[in-house]
């Protein structure tokens, strides 16, 4: 009897560990769903925007510790906002210099952004060094709550989840219930026609790309609660994120949520019983197999191009 309840507690806690990972993955996938799913740009540097967010959080935590100790309790909230804007600003620049010239050549965006990701990784390495760094989390984030005896749920996980929920609903309403969303969806469906109806498509593209990058920046801030940051932290997520978006059906937000949840949970649960690498191989292989049987993804609108 005892061992069964222990087992349940472990499963619950492992499931919760999966949830933190799910949130980072979901935030990444939300950004990529806009950039890739809606705009059709294959942004291989998406992981590096996560790294920007993570380093931003780290720098802010260092600054707060040194110059503003009174802020060190609440800096994380600030870091989320700043990460969003810094990653978004870099996204704006990248869109202006590179992406906007490649909208008609989707496969080429893949190659160019891969080059960009290599450059960004080297820039991170030059600025912050090759060693991994960790942001100092405020004390109140380090604790855990015990809803049931034997079950510890870390508070930072709860915070990340709350953040995730809020952002997902904001994006959802933005895309499907606002004028901006109508413009974005119109532009992606038919750029020429949208321009003819008076939509400033260049402006829509610019803002959408920056928003997607900004979301990756927030994912980076959330990432600092579950791992330490190195120059190549973002690359860990890039394959998973693309799979999540494709698996969920590239243009469906609901699909993205469902697929990042199932991928992160499958991995976390299996990780407990098997080694990490086996869990990852099994999860990814299962996704690939399902995609071969159902290429349009879980919740597709269209997959054949």
């Amino acid at each position: 009897m005892d061992s069964i309840s222990d087992f349940g507690a472990i499963l619950l806690m492992q499931g919760f560990n999966g949830l933190s990972n799910f949130c980072v993955l979901l935030l990444m996938a939300l950004g990529l769903a806009i950039i890739f799913g809606q705009m059709g740009v294959i942004n291989m540097a998406h992981g590096e925007f996560l790294t920007i967010g993570a380093y931003t959080t780290y720098v802010l935590s260092e600054i707060c510790q040194r110059y503003a100790p009174w802020l060190s309790d609440s800096y994380f909230v600030l870091a989320v906002v700043v990460s969003f804007f810094i990653a978004g600003a870099v996204g704006l620049v990248v869109e202006h210099l590179m992406i906007r010239k490649l909208y008609t050549r989707p496969l080429d965006t893949l190659l160019a952004t891969w080059g960009l990701s290599l450059i960004m990784q080297q820039v991170f390495r030059s600025i912050f060094g090759a060693r991994e760094v960790s942001a100092v989390l405020p004390a109140w984030l380090m604790g855990s709550v015990q809803p049931l005896p034997g079950v510890d749920i870390p508070i930072n996980g709860l915070l990340v989840m709350g953040l995730c929920l809020v952002l997902t609903s904001v994006i959802f309403f933005g895309l499907y219930r606002s004028r901006w969303g109508v413009r974005v969806r119109a532009t992606t469906q038919n750029r020429v026609m949208s321009r003819a109806t008076g939509i400033d498509t260049a402006h829509v593209d610019r803002l959408s790309f920056a928003l997607g990058c900004g979301l990756a920046g927030i994912a980076g801030a959330a990432f600092t609660t579950i791992g330490s940051t190195g120059p190549t932290s973002g690359t860990l997520y890039i394959v998973d994120t693309f799979l999540v978006v494709v698996f969920g059906g590239a243009q469906s937000l609901l699909g993205g949520i469902a697929s990042s949840f199932s991928i992160a949970q499958a991995q976390a649960t299996m990780e407990f019983f098997l080694s990490g690498s086996t869990a990852k191989v099994l999860t990814l292989s299962a996704v690939i197999l399902i995609l071969m049987l159902r290429p349009q993804g879980l919740f597709s609108i269209r997959a054949r191009s």
């Binding site: 294959i42 010239k101 080059g115 990784q121 080297q122 799979l243 071969m292």
Partner: protein, 370 residues
Amino acid sequence: MKKLYSPTALTALLLLVVFPLSLSPFRLGLVGKYLTYAFPALGLVLCWGFGGILSLGQGVFFGLGGYCMAMFLKLEASDPVSTAIQSTPGIPDFMDWNQLTALPWFWAPFKNLGFSLAAVVLLPGLLALLVGLAMFKRRVTGVYFAIITQSIAAILSILIIGQQGYTGGVNGITDLKTLLGWDIRSDSAKQILYFVNAALLLGALVLGQHLLRSKLGRLLLAVRDREDRVRFTGYDVAQLKTFVFVGAAVLSAVGGAMFTLQVGFMSPSFVGVEPSISMVVAAAVGGRTSLLGAIYGSLLVNFGKTYFSESFPELWLLLIGSLFIGVVMVFPDGLAGIDGAGLLRRLRKRAAAAAPEVAPHTDLEEGTVS
């Protein structure tokens, strides 16, 4: 006589005569290594440049070919006599370190050279056939195909690294010594292997050129540009695409096997996402629609990689990154697309138009001309 001056003949001359005569055995070995990367690049020109199928998983096939070869060589190197100090003599050393006491079943057939050589070609070919049929029959193309092949590359490299006892893990399969008793580490063996490799590569090049000139090549181009029309004309597009994808996979695998033979080891660092993308880089730098370009692109990119990562390691990533962006944005046709006269004409046209927006581009192009 006229044929002697064709670019293909000149390339053959360069690979078979100029390089072996002018380079030291060490440098020749390096060139041989770079040339093995030209196999996947050739395959990518066929399936991406002409067929329009971008595969980000060519490292999978390169690695499978290389591993099949390495397994045979490793078993030959781990005979019971030379592994007598192990707790289980006769199995590869890394298995012994990982407390394996018997050879796994899937290693056993690799004691046979014929089987191993067949596996080099058949195993990657079969995998490509399965993936190709599953994807192309359902008309999955473009971006989706690229992402799925990339994930396969990620899976295989994680699997190889994770299953240390069966695959040698992150170090790969090392300490390969002889091929049927013939020491592959000696200078003379390396020279012979270089020629075998160069001959195979030139053979693949000529075969590819022949394919492109045939009706099949024209169909392939048609599929890239207007897939629907080809389908409406009654052709089986999925079959065509699967064919070229399998072809590219087999080419890549041959390159991998030659890599193992010449360099003497195989590791997961030639399988995963990054090496697969470098293969695309080589093809893109050479020119995605030029078979010859694939060879020169691989030579250039990998020479640059060795040179810069030795001399200026911190510059290498910046350089290859900018090279990649530059190729995509300024020279979509790569090395093969640079022709001096045409460039000058374009420059003059641009100068005449004097559009301020394109000014930075002209600067860049001038730099390459001079």
